[in-house]
């Protein structure tokens, strides 16, 4: 248990080298589910610190890097139970290449046990919808950092309605220029102000 606590601390501090070494050791005798649940708990604590402005994006970035590395070690040991796994498509909308926030959403949701499919940046409306249908996604997550491109989020929702597919997916949005008001305006299911809120939304999704 002490070692597991240290692992969480290494991840939170973004000390990937120590985190990797310890994870390799722990996976030999600890349950992978338990390791991941401690890690996600640790990331939530980091999220609270972010909320209180005690840590900023650089700290989140190196912590999520370390988390990814540890996940790579732990994941292969997880028992496969795909049937109740939720799937989310994420991407930054067309015309926008900002990716830090979107990537953080991906890492944190993966840690919550979500099957995350990341379409990258500058993603066309069509691609979001086609991919979501192809993999029977539960959620489509749309990111944008610019006022110029926020219309892309609106267009995805509009296109889903036009094609009679709106009820098939939850649509969540995020990014600096957008807000709850924008989510209401375009008819998105949720506005998530940061990656932690997105992870929470996915976790609580029935």
């Amino acid at each position: 248990m002490e070692e597991l606590k240290s692992l969480v601390e290494f991840v939170k501090d973004g000390d990937d080298e120590q985190a990797i070494d310890l994870a390799k050791k722990l996976i030999k005798h600890d349950k992978p589910e338990e390791i991941i649940s401690c890690l996600t708990e640790g990331m939530r604590e980091l999220g609270d610190k972010f909320e209180r402005k005690e840590v900023f994006l650089p700290e989140l970035l190196i912590a999520s890097d370390a988390l990814m590395e540890v996940m790579k070690i732990v994941e292969p040991h997880l028992p496969i139970k795909k049937e109740n796994k939720k799937t989310m498509i994420i991407g930054t909308v067309a015309g926008d290449i900002h990716e830090i926030g979107k990537n953080l959403v991906g890492v944190l949701c993966k840690a919550e046990g979500i099957n995350v499919i990341d379409l990258g940046t500058d993603v066309a409306i069509r691609k979001f919808i086609d991919k979501a249908e192809e993999v029977s996604a539960d959620v489509i997550g749309l990111s944008t950092l610019m006022t110029n491109t926020m219309k892309g989020q609106k267009e995805v929702v509009e296109q889903l309605i036009k094609e009679g597919k709106r009820d098939k997916f939850k649509v969540i949005i995020g990014g600096a220029p957008v807000s709850q008001r924008w989510a209401d305006t375009i008819g998105a299911d949720a506005y998530c102000k940061d990656a932690f809120e997105a992870a929470k939304y996915l976790r609580n999704l029935k």
């Binding site: 973004g14 900023f56 994006l57 650089p58 110029n148 600096a176």
Partner: protein
């Protein structure tokens, strides 16, 4: 007569802006907008057209200042031009904002020594931008203020290095500081060229230091120091300088006062009343009507928001009404008009 052409009580747009930047009270509230693609759209040009063609760019800026009656033109065609001149690859597209798609400092060990300081008269699109400033100045004379755009050393470092810069803040402090020494020198050279080209004012822009992204301490260590050095040097030419930083910078407003800048352009996330309280009357405050609201709210709401900004930060001058950040291309012109008219009707 076009609206901006007239001087009010002998005061031109240029004088109004300069008066505010000097801490004074012009005859009415000065106003400007952070526009590039939007200005191009007003005259039927695409973003790629104004990026390639200096005449189209200059015309779009000049036309909008005259037609909407705001007080300054801001030359944003230079965004990422320094990074490009230093070897980064930029993606230009018809109607999207140019973006750096290939960074030049991938590995500090091998790539830092290869970096060359720019020659503003030769490298990349820099000669085009210098020419744009020259032409804007010759059109605007001393009627409308001409603002050139210069990236802060930390901003340029981020463009050269990419998103990894945020990891470097914690893991490669020495390397990043070596890079910052280079970008500082580089921006000094380019800044001097912009002054020589005839700019009245330089906007030093640092979205990388966004208050939503890095902490106050990180700003002080990686942003502040190098920006302050740059400003100290450029100030020797007596150019006016203001800084723009994105995001919520409420926890570091006091540091802006010590930078040596004439003004601070604040993002819409900062409450201007609070900013005025912290900053006092030491520097001019510029801002901060939300670009999202400009794009999607009604003109009445924009008038209300603009009036609030003025009441909070500009009651005794030392203030320029402006958008909090870049205005979206498809922003309705009636909303820009609503913002501008609010200032034009606000006499001191």
């Amino acid at each position: 007569m076009l609206p901006g052409k007239k001087s009010y009580n002998g005061i031109t747009s240029y004088e109004r802006i300069m008066t505010a930047l000097e801490g004074g009270k012009p005859n009415r509230v000065p106003v400007m907008a952070i526009v590039r693609g939007w200005a191009a759209r007003q005259v039927g040009f695409s973003i790629s057209e104004i990026m390639e063609n200096v005449e189209k760019h200059v015309f779009s800026q000049y036309y909008c200042a005259r037609n909407f009656g705001y007080d300054a033109v801001l030359d944003l065609s230079g965004v990422h031009a320094e990074a490009e001149a230093m070897g980064c690859k930029i993606k230009y597209s018809e109607n999207e904002i140019p973006a750096v798609v290939e960074n030049v400092v991938r590995d500090y060990k091998t790539d830092l020594s290869k970096l060359k300081l720019i020659d503003p008269n030769k490298d990349g699109r820099l000669p085009l931008i210098i020419e744009g400033i020259r032409r804007l100045k010759s059109l605007c004379k001393n009627d409308i203020a001409v603002i050139a755009y210069l990236e802060a050393p930390f901003r340029l470092a981020a463009m050269l290095r990419g998103n990894n810069i945020y990891r470097d803040i914690l893991k490669k402090k020495n390397e990043i500081k070596e890079l910052l020494e280079i970008t500082f020198l580089n921006q000094l050279i380019y800044g001097a060229a912009l002054v020589n080209a005839g700019a009245d004012i330089i906007e030093v822009s640092d979205p990388t230091s966004s208050g939503d992204i890095i902490s106050r301490d990180q700003w002080l260590e990686f942003g502040y120091i190098y920006t302050k050095r740059l400003i100290n040097e450029l100030k020797k030419t007596e150019i006016k300088l203001y800084l723009h930083i994105c995001g919520d910078t409420s926890d570091r407003l006091d540091t802006f006062v010590e930078l040596g800048i004439d003004g601070m352009s604040l993002d819409q996330k900062v409450d201007l009343g609070y900013a005025r309280e912290v900053i006092g009357e030491k520097i001019c405050i510029i801002g901060n009507v939300s670009p999202t609201h400009l794009a999607y709210n009604s003109p009445d709401e924009i008038r209300e928001e603009s009036k609030n900004c003025i009441e909070k930060a500009g009651k005794s001058g030392n203030y320029i009404l402006c958008s909090g950040c870049l205005v979206g291309i498809e922003t309705p012109s009636k909303n820009i008009k609503a913002m501008v008219d609010t200032a034009r009707n606000y006499y001191y």
